[in-house]
């Protein structure tokens, strides 16, 4: 059983789900919720060949840890998050959220809040590569602060 707290949350290359599921389930917890985001082969009708994730590494690492801590305080759960940087293939995992908590209601709520917050508060940018050889940065949302509990 590995303690994941010391690991960087921002990782080069695709994430491996098993690496983020090694911690033991707390004896007080009855629910484990996991969300992973993967690269899809189409977007808005275009055939996608892959995705490059660009990051402001220092701020992204800090924000991912801040989100983890905020999720734990807000929902009284254990939270782990990780995000990939670099070029990913179709089907590979770009982001992982792991929530271990008392009951399923707060587990689902915490997992959803955490991925929603990652998407709007972490300085990472998707550059989408198309089968026709083109590439473009996806439109995003102005970066938001992490709401404290």
């Amino acid at each position: 059983m590995t303690d994941l707290r010391s690991l960087p949350r921002l990782r080069d290359g695709a994430l491996n789900l098993g690496d983020w599921l090694t911690e033991p389930q707390p004896a007080t917890a009855g629910a484990l919720n996991v969300f992973a985001g993967t690269v899809r082969n189409t977007h808005e009708g275009n055939a996608v060949s892959g995705m490059t994730y660009h990051a402001h590494r220092g701020l992204a690492e800090a924000r991912l840890r801040e989100i983890e801590a905020a999720a734990e305080a807000r929902f009284k759960v254990s939270a782990r998050v990780a995000h990939a940087v670099g070029k990913l293939e179709i089907g590979e995992i770009s982001v992982i959220v792991v929530i271990r908590g008392g009951h399923r209601a707060e587990g689902f709520e915490a997992c959803r809040w955490t991925i929603d917050t990652i998407k709007q508060a972490v300085p990472i940018w998707k550059e989408e590569h198309y089968v026709d050889g083109n590439a473009r940065f996806l439109e995003g949302v102005p970066i938001q602060p992490v709401e404290s509990p």
């Binding site: 701020l59 995000h83 972490v122 995003g140």
Partner: protein, 81 residues
């Protein structure tokens, strides 16, 4: 004074470079740096109001003064996940 602007994500396309050096009057703020970039790069001007500024590992207020030698980062709208 001289300030270095690092351009993250699509902002490097809008400004045509990953890093830009700006010469600004002493006491200029982050907003003044954004104004200077908007004057120079029309593609950036169109997105100026959606861009945040980071210094080190934190988002900073665009009204805070900059200092000679500062390095700031442009944080365009994000698409993590």
């Amino acid at each position: 004074m001289r300030v270095t602007v690092e351009c993250y994500g699509a902002s490097s396309r809008w400004c045509g470079s990953d890093a830009i050096t700006l010469d600004l009057p002493d006491g200029a703020t982050g907003n003044a740096a954004l104004d200077a970039l908007a004057d120079r790069y029309p593609d950036f001007a169109a997105r100026r109001d959606c861009v945040a500024i980071a210094s080190g590992d934190a988002i900073t207020s665009p009204t805070a003064p900059l200092f000679d030698g500062d390095v700031i980062a442009l944080i365009p709208p994000v698409s993590a996940g």
